[in-house]
């Protein structure tokens, strides 16, 4: 859809908080428009507050009354018990690895997608990213188990080609490696889209200037393109890390119970162990880490790039 856009300068005075757009009436009607979604947000925040309340309650086995009083023991346990520290560490490690690989694989893809002159190449790249992106995550993970599983494509191929004997197994599921591959596969489309958006906005005349001053393609890329796209890279990395760190289905299906990331530990505590306060405390920790990461990303982007 195209609309006629008049001279930008003519519109400029109407932009900005001092001068509201024409037709801006009383804020009360604005509040009325906002009310239904505000109600949902209030509900959501109330749920988060209630979650926090649970996390400082003393634990009582199912059926017994909860003692009054507040306690921080669940937080202490989450951050000291080796089992849960391990779960946090695995979450951090795998999210970091998945983020690094997704950036390394995603950057060239996004770059090609934005810069290629061939419409055919662009369509092909978009399709290869969009089809997995629009396909159900459980379906994608199932597909990965068929590739990585003990009787999956890779193992069968290794035997068929003589790299392995019939009795050998290359273990690519039920371990950190499988979950790491799964996380990379899960976050890659998000990383490519974020990077593509950033690269599209990039002013190509700066690259042309560098080239005309004698820089070759490689130097131009590392000295001009990459630094200019850093806000996009930071954004993509943050998104990728947060998505990986809160992944639930990926470790569940590719880890098959052997790899417990933080989301799986929370689920088990709440639905199987039925230690609700402890599960709540783990969830609050996950939430706080997420907020910290988003804050860091905002700080980093604003400080370095003034965006």
């Amino acid at each position: 859809m195209t609309i006629a856009v008049p001279d930008a300068a003519a519109r400029a005075p109407t932009i900005g908080p001092e001068k509201p757009p024409p037709g801006a009436g009383k804020a009360s009607s604005g509040i009325a428009l906002l009310a239904p979604s505000a109600l949902l947000i209030v509900f959501f925040f109330a749920a988060l507050v209630w979650l926090f309340q649970h996390s400082v309650e003393p634990y009582a086995p199912t059926g017994q009354a909860v003692e009054p009083g507040l306690t921080l023991t669940h937080y202490a346990k989450a951050l000291s018990d080796a089992l849960y520290v391990q779960s946090l560490w695995v979450t951090f490690k795998l999210s970091f690895i998945a983020t690094v690989f997704a950036l390394l694989l995603g950057y060239p893809l996004a770059y090609q997608m934005v810069r290629t002159n061939s419409a055919r190449v662009r369509t092909f790249l978009i399709l290869t990213i969009a089809i997995p992106f629009l396909t159900n995550l459980i379906v994608r993970l199932y597909a990965l188990t068929l590739v990585l599983g003990n009787t999956g494509l890779i193992n069968k191929f290794a035997i068929w080609s003589g790299l392995m004997t019939e009795n050998e197994i290359l273990p690519l599921v039920r371990n950190d490696l499988g979950v790491g591959i799964g996380l990379t596969y899960f976050v890659l489309p998000f990383v490519v889209f974020t990077l593509a958006t950033a690269l599209r906005r990039l002013d190509t005349t700066l690259e042309e200037a560098a080239m005309s001053l004698g820089a070759n393609k490689v130097v131009t890329f590392f000295k001009v393109t990459l630094p200019l796209s850093m806000p996009g890279v930071i954004g993509a990395a943050t998104l990728s890390f947060i998505l990986s760190a809160s992944a639930f289905a990926t470790p569940l299906i590719l880890g098959e119970g052997s790899v417990a990331m933080i989301a799986n530990t929370i689920y088990d505590q709440v639905l199987f162990v039925e230690n609700i306060p402890f599960g709540a405390a783990l969830a609050v920790i996950a939430l706080v880490i997420t907020i910290l990461l988003l804050y860091l990303q905002a700080r980093l982007t604003r400080k370095r790039y003034g965006a």
Binding site: L51, N136, A143
Partner: protein, 247 residues
């Protein structure tokens, strides 16, 4: 590499072996037949579709109204308030799932179907605010002035001018809401009861206990669905714009 596993699933869904094997030793449509012979898949599909069919228009209306309010009344569109409204996007889904589970218990909501639906609306409507806000940011206020000076009432300006112009944003928002709701596993698994298994949950539970190719057949059908969805996107707003490769 990204799309390879998906082709593999489609190929294997036509296998005739008792257990999924790579490559299949024979070919048949038996696993497609088995989808309908199993009790869980068809009802789960309808439940997922029903939830998405309620969630999508609700999120679309809520999100559009909110985006419009933020756009029209800059007081309401400040960064702090925006952060509050976008917060369901930022909060890890597992945290949202467990918080809603506890809170629904507290307030005594026991209808699992509606709990899942409300959960899906909460996680999807901020995406609508986002896509519609992007469309509104490009919206030319002169259009409003022109319509108003020609005697249009505010409501007429909104329905006749604003809505048609921001249609790509509305469409992208609706699409996000639909696919997120239809595909959600993490929030859903906390809120479902035994009677409200959605399709992703049914698929997961089946593959936990079975090693035949029924899930491959279901997957192939779902991939076909996403291909259709993609063609619709391409038709309506263009895939490259949807993804952000083009403005």
């Amino acid at each position: 590499m990204l799309i390879g596993p998906i082709f593999l699933v489609i190929w294997l869904s036509f296998g005739g072996d008792e257990y999924t094997s790579v490559p299949p030793t024979s070919y048949a449509l038996r696993w497609y037949e088995n989808i309908f012979a199993q009790p869980e898949f068809v009802p789960a599909f309808w439940i997922s579709l029903k939830i998405a069919a309620i969630c999508t228009p609700t999120s679309l209306v809520l999100g559009t109204l909110a985006a419009f309010a933020m756009h029209k009344f800059p007081v309401l569109g400040g960064p702090a308030l925006q952060a509050v409204f976008y917060s369901p996007i930022m909060v890890p889904l597992v945290v949202t799932g467990i918080a809603l589970l506890f809170f629904f218990n507290l307030v005594g909501f026991t209808a699992n179907f509606w709990n899942v639906t409300v959960g899906h609306i909460i996680i999807t409507f901020p995406y609508v605010i986002r896509t519609v806000s992007v469309a509104l940011a490009r919206y030319d206020p002169a259009l409003d002035e022109a319509a108003t000076s020609l005697g249009a009432r505010p409501w007429q300006v909104f329905t006749r001018i604003t809505l048609p112009v921001i249609r790509p944003g509305l469409f992208a928002g609706a699409l996000f809401a639909f696919t997120m709701s239809f595909d959600d596993f993490t929030v859903t698994i906390f809120l479902i009861g035994t009677d409200t298994h959605t399709l992703p949950v049914a698929i997961y539970q089946y593959m936990e206990w079975n090693v035949d190719s029924t899930v491959a057949a279901v997957s192939a059908l779902l991939v076909a669905m996403s291909v259709v969805l993609m063609l619709v996107i391409e038709r309506v707003i263009g895939l490259d714009r949807f993804i952000g490769v083009r403005g």
